[in-house]
Amino acid sequence: MKLLIVEDECKIGDYLKQGLTEAGFIVDLARNGLDGQHLAMTESYDLLILDIMLPDVDGWRVLKSVREAGGNVPVMFLTARDNVDDRVKGLELGADDYLVKPFAFAELLARVRTLLRRGATPVAETTLKIADLELDLIRRCVTRTGQRIKLTAKEFALLELLLRRRGEVLPRSLIASQVWDMNFDSNTNVIDVAIRRLRAKIDEDFAPKLIHTLRGMGYMLDIREED
């Protein structure tokens, strides 16, 4: 998967590149709009991450020229301005996502993965599995080592989210938004409690442990060798 980042702020650009490279992507970084536009038009990318406010050619112009040339690569905007008009303008021009600074890197990563997954044909799964944990999406029931576990509707939704995105760090804000449709920054305690309860049901009496806390970033469901 090859990504292009167009970002004029040095530190942010460098760390985005480092973070995304370490997450397993091939990353090109352009430090101004003109270079970015050139790269976007000549190279082939799976995703463009564009800063809107650039000193020369702004993110909108880059997106516009890409779309005019017939490119339908997914595009994510980064901006310091959270303003409905900007958001609407971005979406009208054909942007796929819009992230307001300051953002958590885990959030960016989660959204990048969502955008990249969008292109792939979804497999109509009826069961989700990891290790000996099984989630039956049709009968809405969960078993671990064949043992039936009772979950509330929201706990089921939470586990489904973690399982569908196994191996990804999911920030608390993303969990709140996906499971409970709560899109405001609220007491993040709530997510911690919900995860703790889910853990008590599916992880406590079993090994290996599946739900992991990544301090300062969020939660992840995966089989980890070291645990």
Binding site: V84, F184, N189, R197
Partner: protein
């Protein structure tokens, strides 16, 4: 829109128009009465002459003696300066004609009547005369007019006098108008002096002197209202400005604290070589501070936008029970862990911005749950009274809030217990209040007998489509 005409000009014009009307009216009246006076004077002179003449005409000594008659008539005319007379017999023969203008014209154009026609003015080219024609009948036998008497007096003197009088009169009228208008203008200017004083006072008020007030007692009473309302506006501005300054100071303080702690921590950590775990620990701790700062920045931006009216509520119909249930689901696990029961009573549907209302209710609930002791209940009551306004009460049992905190509870960065920040930004309730106000509602809080109740009143929307 066109700018309205200046007050001075308006009032001066008004004075001017009034003066023109009054003075012209007077002028016209005076001119007319003098003219009438002259006309009456002339008429009475003509009458006197014609009566004297008719008396003489039928006197026996003069009946046959034309010469004597002529002499007698001359005598009559002597007393009347420059009067002229012409007597015509019924057969058209002129019996007597005095010197002066030819009165035949007058006789021809006037129907002579015994009672007397009206006096007429005419001119022979150079001089002007007034005269009339009378019929004289012997012994008043009306069907046999013996003579017609034409009498005239020159009126050039009168006309000359009238002309010069008219000139003086209208000159005076014009000066009167000008003087009154000028006086009006001066009076208006003078009358505006207190207004200019107020303007000078207002000019002197700068941002640093928002505590200055105009003194309503020293201005004319017509301007008292202006001074009072201006003072009230200044008061509101001063309050808003003070809040804003405090807000900036609070922002600085609330950002400085985490920055200082991070800086100290990081510098201390870097002062000697540490283990990987220790480095990780400091980075984790930094992330937590950053998250806190990010939340604060987002909350402040939300408030700033709402304050500038830049985030207009996106009005739609919102089922509050559904919102509350959704929030309950969200807070359920947390509340259960704290052994707090969540209850909702009543129903209500309002028109408002769903995301904003959810955020406001979420903040209130989260606040209530975190202050409720174990085993107690957070209760939400919804009530739409008579289709008018919607009441939302969020009530929790727990330690009462001291009365001195209540009025400031919705202030930004106000924390009842500064020593227990609980990871909040101190902006939660300020956001609730801002959202409620953006919906045209009010929020109040009471805390007594072990219960704290937040009550939101949302008005009935003016239009359904909004």
């Amino acid at each position: 829109m066109r700018r309205p005409t200046s007050l001075t000009l308006r009032l001066t014009l008004l004075f001017g128009i009034a003066a023109v009307l009054v003075f012209s009216g007077f002028g016209w009246l005076i001119e007319n009465s003098i003219q009438r006076h002259f006309a009456e004077e002339d008429a009475s002179e003509l009458e006197t002459i014609s009566e004297a003449v008719s008396d003489v005409l039928f006197d026996t000594p003069f009946k046959s003696n034309r010469t004597a008659l002529a002499r007698r008539l001359d005598d009559i005319l002597v007393g009347h300066h420059e009067a002229s007379l012409q007597i015509t017999a019924s057969d058209g023969q002129i019996i007597y004609a005095s010197s002066g203008p030819d009165l035949s014209v007058l006789v021809r154009t006037t129907t002579s009547a015994p009672g007397g026609g009206l006096a007429q003015n005419w001119s022979d080219g150079t001089d002007h005369f007034r005269g009339f024609v009378r019929s004289a009948t012997e012994n008043n036998q009306s069907d046999d007019p013996a003579y017609s008497i034409a009498v005239a007096v020159p009126i050039d003197n009168h006309l000359r006098f009238l002309n010069s009088f008219r000139y003086t009169l209208w000159l005076m009228v014009a000066s009167g108008i000008i003087i009154v208008s000028l006086a009006g203008w001066a009076a208006v200017r003078q009358g505006h002096a207190p207004l200019r004083d107020i303007i000078t006072q207002i000019h002197r008020i700068s941002v640093n002197q928002l505590n200055t007030r105009l003194s309503p007692d020293t201005v004319p009473h017509e301007l008292t209202d202006l001074a009072v309302s201006f003072n009230e506006m200044l008061g509101r501005m001063e309050e808003a400005f003070r809040r804003l300054s405090n807000f900036s100071a609070d922002i600085a303080h609330d950002l400085r604290t985490p920055v200082t702690s991070m800086m100290t921590q990081t510098q201390v950590t870097l002062s000697q070589t540490r283990t990987v775990d220790e480095y990780q620990e400091i980075l984790y701790s930094n992330i937590e501070e950053f998250e806190q700062m990010t939340r604060m920045i987002n909350d402040m931006l939300f408030l700033a936008k709402a304050d500038h009216g830049r985030s207009k509520p996106n009005i739609a119909s919102v089922d509050l029970v559904r919102e509350i249930r959704g929030l309950f689901e969200y807070y359920e696990a947390w509340a259960e862990e704290r052994n707090v029961t969540l209850l909702v009573e009543g129903t209500a549907t309002v028109s408002g911005d769903q995301l904003m209302l959810r955020r406001a209710l979420g903040n209130l609930l989260s606040n209530a749950i975190s202050h409720t002791p174990s085993g107690e209940t957070v209760r939400v009551e919804l009530d739409t009274s008579g289709n008018e306004e919607t009441r939302i009460v969020v009530e929790n049992a727990g330690a009462e809030i001291l009365p001195e905190h209540l009025p400031k509870l919705f202030d930004r960065f106000y924390r009842v217990d500064r020593s227990r920040p609980e990871g909040g930004t101190g902006l939660g309730l300020a956001i609730v209040k801002t959202i409620v106000i953006a919906h045209g509602g009010t929020i109040t809080v009471v805390s007594s007998r072990g219960l704290t109740r937040f009550r939101i009143i949302l008005p009935k929307p003016v239009t359904q489509s909004g």
